[in-house]
Symmetry: D2
Subunit: 491 residues, 4 copies
């Protein structure tokens, strides 16, 4: 075998390859980039450590990155989200065989333990020879949720401190495992992460949560390299978050439960982009949607869009379906779950599983947990009634369905690819000294690149774009080729 | 083993039992009927030959029928639609074990051949001792699509003619198999079906297609027993057809293809109840929906609902998704499929698989068929482009998803149960001689029973019904308890 | 002046003529009938007494009837609904002048008193010479709400009884006026209405309310001539009621109040066709819609369409807008109005003004009524808060807007025209003796004529109808030219 | 009479006062500000020159400004948009009489000429004594579209140049009038505008168009005082533009034409906030909506929302209704109008009347213009067909309806009021020297003030806001009291 990897079963590669071929058709943005950059190979020399759900769509992203010249190592950013056949196909590669894989090293399989998860996260930095010579290691991170970036920053921090602290009593279980992972690392090589960080030119980050962490680091002047906030490209946040969830939320609920959504009362916690997509999908299926919000602007939007805006406590007995979309925590408490209707469905499409108080639920005295099928559990309260929790409170659209569909991921991933190209070339850590060099701060992509991503997807939908005349463009004070809007424009 | 049956794997019964328990919660209509009739046992003495998709929901129906006193034998009405764990659970019964099944004889498994299918159809009439003494056989049919009813009528016809005719050259393959099945039957017992028919008090029929056959028989004075058209209860046709498809169509497309529906052009052939539900679901997912129709009234409804109404030929190059909902035939031709966009998705939620010309597609010179996964096939035209056909042109909501969800089936099946009670008691063949006896004709349920079915489902949705005062009812000229509308009212 | 009439101001005729010309463009059904029957003149010899809102659209209907050969006299069926310029234009006629009107005698103006209203109703039967020779009088009625038909039936009844009874204490004010009108008539000619009834071949009735009256008469064997129920043509009830209200309800609310509908809580009482259109319109404007219903089937439809279904009392404090759509009475009581939010808007698009208890409201102690503008009144409760009542509780879409738009009226009125043609030719009172002669009962139009009306409207919308092949039609058991559906089909 | 003003008819003041009282109920944001600042009087000393549509809602704004201590002079920013009764009521004031007006000087009436319009614009700067002592003049501008700001800047420019240039041949008619207005001003007082500008502390601007002008000035370092861009407050741009148009567009079309929107093909040019509201409103009325766009991101949004995206030329024959929403120019050409369907409706809700080429239309050889009613014209092409143009191509929601409803204006105007308070206190020209002083640049309001505006409107809708716990807020890294989102968040 030509390289190390760890996946579920490499023999699944053919099934994966079929799916990749179909997904490519639904990812016109990535395919257009492959064509545009076939010759110039802007990622030649890039060694990308990728941490993002190892799905079929990600496979098309990975193969786009390599088509542009990059070398890649990959892990999933979620213990449940890997599609094993996609992992297998990426490892084998389009030209390889299971015996002679010619693809990309992947460290991901469906249903990892947390220990395994953090091991895979460290493996994407374990480039051959890098421990000895950091310049042979990763020089780019492509991150989703910020775990890869976190590992590097914590590693550097503890290496500087000369050791890994003990976990505190109230630290979450997962943080103990991170500490353990790093403790083992420092014992092997006490300067590993310092070397890794040195060599990194930058990170491109996919999600709100990861982006928030980056802005925190930047505010604390602790960011070790430049970052591009891909999440806030319009063609990411307003597409993936909204239109992706619109598709994958009902998909997940339907696959998990086969329960009719029509006629039911669905409570959507949060009315950000994800919540907007969730509410639209549920209404589109004939549910009556109630929204909870803490932000008065979003709350007013929900009201103006015709939804009831209520406090969760006031509608806890009414809902048949409860969906969290917030990125916050403790959105639904165990006590609230105990007051829901019999067989109410509870699921999360926000970010972490702490949006729903799963720990509190499990700690409820006398509660019984029955597995209906994988990722679908009935929690029976002592009083006899029960609720159905999807994907253990983790992202149900990934756990119970297959995540965002290819087309929206094409938009997100075209942003990722363009961001990798930008940062690989123009990070100050690339030695680039132009005025537009990226410092160790957090950036969004220039609007004209955002518009480019949109443009790449219109034709596939049969949408015909109009063109400004020079005269009209002058009247508006914009260029015929864009960008067309001021930066503060909200779409 | 206490009785004969043929299912895939009886050991699946526990999984099925779990699902049945959850489905019961979503079928408030059936559960209310169990409660209402627990004591009176109105189906005591009924022996029901059932032919209807052997799903989890049907399991709840079957166990409702037995809870009301009936004996039951069951087959599926579609070769793909059986959920094997549901069949196993019904065979075993709530109190039985695989070794000592105490449920209902079922003859159904996923993926039957057509020969097997027609064998199972004959088995629901093969009651122990019935061949010798027809009065021990089935006295009721519960039918979906009319195959069980067809078998009896053809059997009687051929037995009267003294033999089964040869198939004609242009007879469909399936008809040859029916003839073969009956030829074998006549060779075993030349008066079997005559005896079966004699003993039958009536049939309750689920679908448009089956109902159309019944009306044809009635017009030809060839109907051998009374029939209740369950399909045209408002709480069936306007609920199951419309709201069921609204759920199960996107479910099927999503599970089959994972392709984003949003932004795509979806062509819905037909704007009857099924088409209305399909169009609403696809629009609810952000697709642009184009409707084709032959009925000017339905076409005008589609236009007034904001859909483009076009001829299929005029939009064949535009569509990304094509769905037939008509109950007709040759709605999409092979030639039209060859002109579709690359990777266009083609599926049927109407009735038979001849809505899409699958035979013509298979006969296209140089075409190649690739199985992406079960029930999802890519057909590659010689020119290189391909289309994705779901469920081989059969009902995709059954083949690629799990059919209508429990809640809508509760409404349909509450109608079925009430219709079985009506007909078992009041068929002229039951010896009933009241003025309201059912003759050998086709009937719909009285409106007040239709309203009863609706009433049984409101509470579960949290819907609060208002009540007329006596004074208001008098003003409207109706009874406080209903029925509230004239028979011609269209809802 | 060549004939008697009574309208507001004949000089408005030019403005009316402009509007009629524009309305003709929006009434493709009527214009197509003018073309189709230009030569055959199927209404030659018909003398039609018309009682229907005297709007611009009705003007196009009247001129269609005359274009087909009829003579016509017209009154409005509502004291508020006349558009004075339309009345003027119809009186003058396309070729006439105010000095030499060549149109149709009209007795209608905006804001009639009830006494005037019933006088106009009697005038449409006052054909020159008819009092002496009833055969010179009206031979057809075109009715909306049944007032013209009521007048004839009551007249005949009292003439047979030899006198008009006194009003009872609890008779509504309006009934006293009817009695007074007839008392005067009997004193002039004690056999007038008997003669009128004798000469009438039939009535075509527009609305649910009028149709209900006709069915009551038929059940009592008291119907004096055949009736065609135009209301229940699909292209009437499912178009005019639903799509007309969808347009004219928000139109009326907006013109009356300029209050933002978006974000508000709108309570729609009733979910029949009118209620469905109302709910859709209000949701389409971003309101949160709550439905009240007494029919469990309609209630279930509302729930499945995603609306909250509640009892009015439970949501009386929540609503910003309350709309009655029922055709019933006492839907909103004065006491309930007193509990509404300050400045809640209350209106009716059902039938009579007794849906909202206006009498009770006016009788509330200490209440104050302020006219904001014509047809918009603020009722200030002694406690200081107030509600806004539209059109005094009468039809707000007529009183505050201009009623259904031309296009839906084209559909309704094409049914009216076709029904007049049918009945004029084939009433038993026409001397017609064919098998399909209309007896003194209530009929709906044959489905194929209903389909014809739809067909006449498709092209104007750019909708392209598909056509069945002979083979497909045979498969479905229908004729290529229709009708396509069984009579019980609900659309 | 206590002050000079020019309005249509002061006797209309009572009608206006009624409407203002009702509007106040629908403007909870402004009423809450009156309460909050009743005591502190933050605008005491402010002399505001206001240029904004003189409607009933603006009357509530004006009286809010005076309730906070300001003195005000007002003109409309559009020649058609004044509601005369609102102007009258504002002039008279709540306590005044026509003989002794105690309100605010207003210079606005419905249907001004362009000459009159620019005269009114100059009157809002003509404070008593200001010509002699500029410090007695306006110290704040409240602007909509930027005309008041333009007048000041052009005045200063020409005064510095020592004279007003001649109009160029291709200058628009309106520009000639501006030049003429200033020429007259310079002849009266050659330093008037220089004095005015000196004394101004800043401008708060309502619309995209005005804001664009401000950013241009700022880029050229030509902005004479600070500006707050109210347009881009979320609670302005995403509410007024979107939800306001959703209401007032169908309102305008319905009042103008009474044409059924349902079933029609509506072409919406532009899919910004205004276009989104327009498309939603038309779809909500059952129209089939086609969108044209030049920005690929907005185009992709339109496609994902289920609309057809096309070039105008490709659908010019299909549309029944064409609406421009762009803020650009020459969106619909005269030649395109000549190819539309007979009686197609054409209207603009963008900004200026040059979105539709009205000049080109008028110049079409042989064209005939018929006034159907005020603001509704039929343009008959020589070939015989015609189109209906609303409001002469100016804003139809103002010309044919009454503009945005009070509730959305409450949101916009609460932003205006807060911006006036901010700028009056903290402009560098106020002598304020804090770190957060506003320089002569363009600013948007701090997000927490934007959230405040939203908060002020929730209760009136019955929306219940949830509250973060301290723990949840810390987790998100925000303050419990907000702001909740980063500045780049798009809502």
């Amino acid at each position: 075998m030509s390289f190390d990897y760890k996946i579920a079963d490499i023999s699944l590669h053919e099934a994966g390859r079929h799916q990749i071929r179909l997904a490519e058709h639904e990812m016109p943005g990535l395919m257009a980039l492959r064509e545009e950059y076939a010759e110039s190979q802007p990622l030649a020399g890039a060694r990308i450590a990728g941490s993002l759900h190892m799905t079929v769509q990600t496979a098309v992203l990975i193969e786009t990155l390599t088509a542009l010249g990059a070398e890649v190592r990959w892990a999933s950013c979620n213990i449940f989200s890997t599609q094993d056949e996609a992992a297998a196909a990426v490892v084998v590669g389009p030209q390889g065989t299971p015996e002679n894989p010619q693809g990309v090293p992947v460290f991901a399989w469906k249903n990892e333990t947390l220990e395994e998860y953090w091991w895979t996260a460290s493996q994407i930095f374990a480039w051959p020879g890098a421990d000895e010579d950091p310049s042979k290691g990763a020089n780019m991170i492509l991150d989703d949720g910020g775990d890869a970036t976190l590992l590097v920053h914590k590693g550097v921090e503890f290496e500087a401190a000369g050791g890994v602290p003990s976990a505190q009593e109230d630290d979450p279980e997962e943080y103990r495992i991170i500490l353990e992972t790093l403790r083992k690392s420092l014992s092997e090589n006490p300067q590993r992460w310092t070397g890794v960080a040195e060599n990194l030119r930058g990170v491109t980050e996919e999600t709100t949560t990861g982006v928030n962490r980056l802005y925190q680091l930047a505010r604390q002047d602790a960011l070790l390299f430049p970052a591009i906030n891909v999440n806030d490209s319009v063609t990411k946040s307003k597409f993936d978050n909204k239109y992706g969830i619109r598709h994958s939320l009902p998909d997940g609920i339907m696959r998990a439960t086969d329960v009719l959504i029509g006629g039911k009362v669905a409570v959507v916690c949060g009315y950000g982009d994800v919540g907007k997509g969730a509410a639209e999908a549920l209404r589109g299926q004939g549910a009556r949607v109630i929204v909870t919000e803490i932000d008065p602007i979003n709350a007013l939007q929900a009201a103006m869009d015709g939804y009831q805006v209520a406090k969760l406590d006031d509608v806890i007995e009414q809902g048949h379906i409860f969906i969290t979309t917030t990125g916050g925590k403790d959105i639904i408490s165990a006590e609230q779950m105990s007051r829901m209707r019999d067989k109410a469905i509870v699921g999360n499409v926000g970010h972490f599983d702490n949006e729903i108080d799963m720990a509190g639920l499990a700690a409820t005295e006398g509660i019984q947990k029955i597995e209906i099928k994988p990722q679908v559990h009935e929690w029976v309260f002592p009083a006899g009634h029960s609720i159905i929790v999807l994907s253990e409170g983790r992202l149900l659209n990934l756990g119970n369905a297959t995540g965002h569909p290819s087309f929206v991921m094409s938009s997100s991933f075209a942003n990722q690819t363009i961001a990798q190209i930008e940062l690989f070339a123009k990070s100050w850590k690339s030695g680039y000294t132009g005025e537009d060099a990226y410092a160790s701060d957090v950036y969004t992509l220039p609007k004209v690149l955002d518009e480019k991503v949109a443009r790449l997807h219109l034709q596939a939908l049969g949408a015909e774009l109009s063109e400004l005349t020079k005269d009209q463009a002058d009247y508006l004070g914009v260029d015929v080729a864009g960008p067309y809007k001021p930066d503060h424009y909200r779409y």
